[in-house]
Symmetry: C2
Amino acid sequence: MVEVVILGTGNVAFHIFQTFSEAKNIRVIQVYNHKKVSLKSFSKLIDTTTNIHNLKPADFYLLALKDDVISEIAQQLNNHKGIILHTSGAIGLNALQSATNFGVFYPLQSFSKNNTVDFTEIPICIEANSTENLEKIKSLALEISTDVREIDSEQRKALHVAAVFVNNFSNHLYSIGAEICDDHGIDFSILKPLITETALKIKNLKPREAQTGPALRNDQKTIETHLALLPNKHKHIYNLITQSIQDLHGKKL
Amino acid sequence: MVEVVILGTGNVAFHIFQTFSEAKNIRVIQVYNHKKVSLKSFSKLIDTTTNIHNLKPADFYLLALKDDVISEIAQQLNNHKGIILHTSGAIGLNALQSATNFGVFYPLQSFSKNNTVDFTEIPICIEANSTENLEKIKSLALEISTDVREIDSEQRKALHVAAVFVNNFSNHLYSIGAEICDDHGIDFSILKPLITETALKIKNLKPREAQTGPALRNDQKTIETHLALLPNKHKHIYNLITQSIQDLHGKKL
């Protein structure tokens, strides 16, 4: 049984708290946040503290915090022997170098408060300051996920950018789709099966092979009809992605 | 039992042929293409013809053809009493007005040759030149799908643009994600659970509410780190979608 203190109360902290609490060999023993109000939903379930000097001895201190405070908080945990972990895609391992034992525990998923998350298939990207710590972090990660991968800081940064494209940016394209539907009195739900199919298709096909549409076909007539129908604010995105598709697939505009 | 002649042998024709063949009350009686070689995979299963003047009498003539030949082919079907249908998102109902009975049968989905498709939940957008024909088309559509919606030509055009955003453009963002992974020695499969979750999340949340990421948080430091890591060709897309997210959510760059 390993004992974990979680620092932070945001979406990542919340979901990791939940999955750790259900794991057989993990015991969350404390949750920290500097604001008492943020601890409200945890305080009925677990010991909480707003005082960083009152953290309990533990095997792991999981910093599920905003990127810009990770290094600073880590420095205040100098005296702890447990492994200090952060959960950020964008922050290097060396942000924790003031500690003795440290590593990264980055679950590659987008967390929202109101969504239940099954961690079993979520890739956990791990990194550590020593082989011994890496093994310990791996064991921790395998308690909740079947997909644990060693990813170094440079790769993790690249992965974080890639995640922005496939997650944040795709979701924004869904928002634009919803806006176009609203503007024309169409129920957005009509697009949901297409959105699902688009995502599921790349389970078996490379995205490049799955590409379809007027940009790929270089169907200028349809492209012009689409541009005529779009408000200016969306024309630029339409043009730029159309051109990017044609560049990737070697078509001429 | 209604009888259908399918004109065209592309992905849409192929998948509609398959689902119609399995439907209880539909009988596909003939497939037409002007090229004999294109009919090869159909000719063992069904009567085929390359001669448009040899089409059999049928209740429906389904034109699953390239947009730019729909009107021309429809004109050659003047003497048929069956309902002439096209399957295009981009073409208006009036492209078929040379016929007596006509309408639109637009399945809102992206079809690839090597993907099996379950039509049950695919929205079928229908339109017709008369209430009577609309009812007949509706009955046909309900044979294969539970989601049949009356959508007029203007709405269908808007829907087609929205579909380009959520399907073609999202898929291209997956391609960019895959490219970034390749460039950094990361197996693209690591992004697949995130892609699936991103698509599934909007079943319960509006895309606008599901938005997360550095653009939404106006996290300049992360945005700059991402831009520094990206090749020039992807910087423009990153910047433009970041700005579009901030415009939609009322953040300032």
